[in-house]
Symmetry: C2
Subunit: 326 residues, 2 copies
């Protein structure tokens, strides 16, 4: 198992290392006969270019990072897999590696180091909160970065998101179309843009809705629905800020003898796997996650290729998936 170097390929082919390199990278002009000689030498020796050596001179790592928070509610997030798969689809054919970085508190800065020491060419950042210093550092250092989701505060950074407010509106319109008269919403956390925007869009359409604040979890859906039924027993339509909330809500509604969608229509958000395992299956707002992920990858590659690329934001339209629950 000896290592084959370009030097050796050149020797076998009877050319110089420079010419062998030209053939490997397909640039420059090389005589057809020599090109073939080199190609034969490559396959006969089983040559593979040493990435470290190449990277040392090209100053490209041919690797990008995907930075995720290692939070429990993130684990098993069905979106995660779609993001990974979407980014992979763009990046892999180019021979670029995707480095997964699940960061606990404190280890997040690692991404910045990896970028600065040339180990990574750029990063996709998921779910940054206002306290996260990483985006700021990256911007300051002029390093390629794309955010998944609109930043919490306005900042000059490229991001890709879905129009959360439009999604909320979609849900509201659905409940109205179903003829619901007493409509409520259980929201996501109001300190997150995602949580806020969904309600905002929803309230634009159903201004007199009852609002109960929660977070995106199933537990929160359970607690908030108990509260909702106490405050407003005649509710006949619920917009849940997430599918998980919706599953919790439906469990509580059943426990209280309400049928879904008979007595109460329920619309979720995310079109996660929970939407399908739920009884009844969830009507929900879908985000085109895979498309968004591909767009993130493309935006990042653009920045890497040309660091002077202006900051952009791409916003995708959500869609309503009608199933049994509402």
């Amino acid at each position: 198992m000896k290592r084959v170097t370009l030097e050796e390929v050149a020797r076998v082919a009877g050319v110089s290392r420079a010419t062998a390199s030209r053939v490997v990278n397909g640039l420059g002009t090389v005589d057809e006969a020599l090109r073939h000689a080199v190609q034969r030498a490559i396959s006969s020796t089983g040559y593979l270019p040493n990435i470290a050596a190449r990277s040392l001179v090209t100053r490209r790592a041919d690797a990008i990072g995907l930075v995720l928070p290692d939070e429990h509610r993130m684990l098993g997030d069905p979106h995660l897999a779609s993001v990974v798969s979407g980014v992979t689809r763009v990046v892999r054919p180019l021979g670029i590696h995707l480095v997964l970085m699940m960061t606990g508190p404190g280890t997040r800065e690692q991404a910045v180091s990896d970028l600065r020491c040339g180990r990574l060419d750029g990063v996709v950042l998921v779910h940054t909160d206002p306290a996260d210093p990483v985006p700021g550092q990256l911007i300051a250092a002029g390093l390629p970065v794309v955010l998944a989701g609109r930043p919490w505060q306005p900042m000059p950074i490229t991001y890709v998101d879905v129009d959360q407010a439009a999604g909320g509106a979609l849900a509201g319109e659905r409940l109205l179309a179903l003829g619901c008269r007493r409509i409520a919403t259980i929201t996501g956390p109001q300190d997150m843009p995602t949580g806020r925007d969904r309600v905002r869009g929803f309230l634009d359409v159903v201004p007199d809705a009852v609002v109960v604040h929660g977070d995106f979890t199933r537990e929160s859906g359970i607690a908030s629905t108990e509260e909702l039924l106490a405050r407003c027993p005649d509710v006949d339509g619920v917009f849940a800020g997430s599918d998980l909330i919706a599953t919790g809500a439906i469990a509580v509604l059943h426990r209280h003898g309400r049928t879904v969608p008979g007595d109460v229509a329920v619309v979720g958000f995310d079109d996660s796997s929970a939407a399908l395992t739920c009884e009844p299956e969830l009507t929900t707002v879908r985000q085109p996650i895979a498309d968004m992920a591909q767009e993130m990858a493309r935006q990042l590659l653009r920045q890497i290729a040309n660091p002077a690329t202006p900051v952009t934001s791409v916003v995708f339209a959500p869609s309503l998936v009608v199933r049994a629950s509402g």
Copy 2:
């Protein structure tokens, strides 16, 4: 944004590059005063070692791959996240990168190239099937590799798995303990060791159980349960080969007017997120995925550190999580 090299650190500290390198890597003996001078120089210049240059000479990439099949049923697999997070936990504190490789058909060999050209130090392989040439190639080349799950055919390769048969037995014992008289199982695919072993362990405990073959999906759970109810309407206990099967089974049981666990007790396998969003919540067999993932990482690191490490297999014990469904 100029790059700081070790050369520059050495110049600022007034020492040679060699000494600066010793301080950075913490090896060799360096005078205390010089050590401090170098450390000051490092922080004042903001020095970060160039990984490519280091990797070129150390012949270590400080990166490992996690190879997953890019199949739809794999997307959103709740285990995936636990595997990633477990591996990350071991590997990250050592500064080792985790490269996610979702491979479509044909692109799987990429992992072998990445390993051979020094881009990756080792790989964790998930869900290889008998037709997969990669494990064989890796073994032949003597490259560090760990399999997640027992290989389909016996081969000299290190793997980490859970005792699937013991898990099946756990489920069988539970149904017996509940007093079920007419017990059935809906299996996973019988061409996968995972699918086979679970039934085998189950049948050791409940030899007269009715067996319906399916795969691990919810759809399969739905179809198989319809079949089961037709063949055996008095069934009062079901062991589902996966949680997804179980959710499908429960949906069908409800549709047919059976209560769970009143009329029919249901036990799943995996303790996935579906087990919690299900109504009623699923009694299920848990695999200690995060622990297993950590073990995989450790095994892999051992092989990387010492390629002569003998092939090992580590088998974890499953446990029963009792909830509402059975």
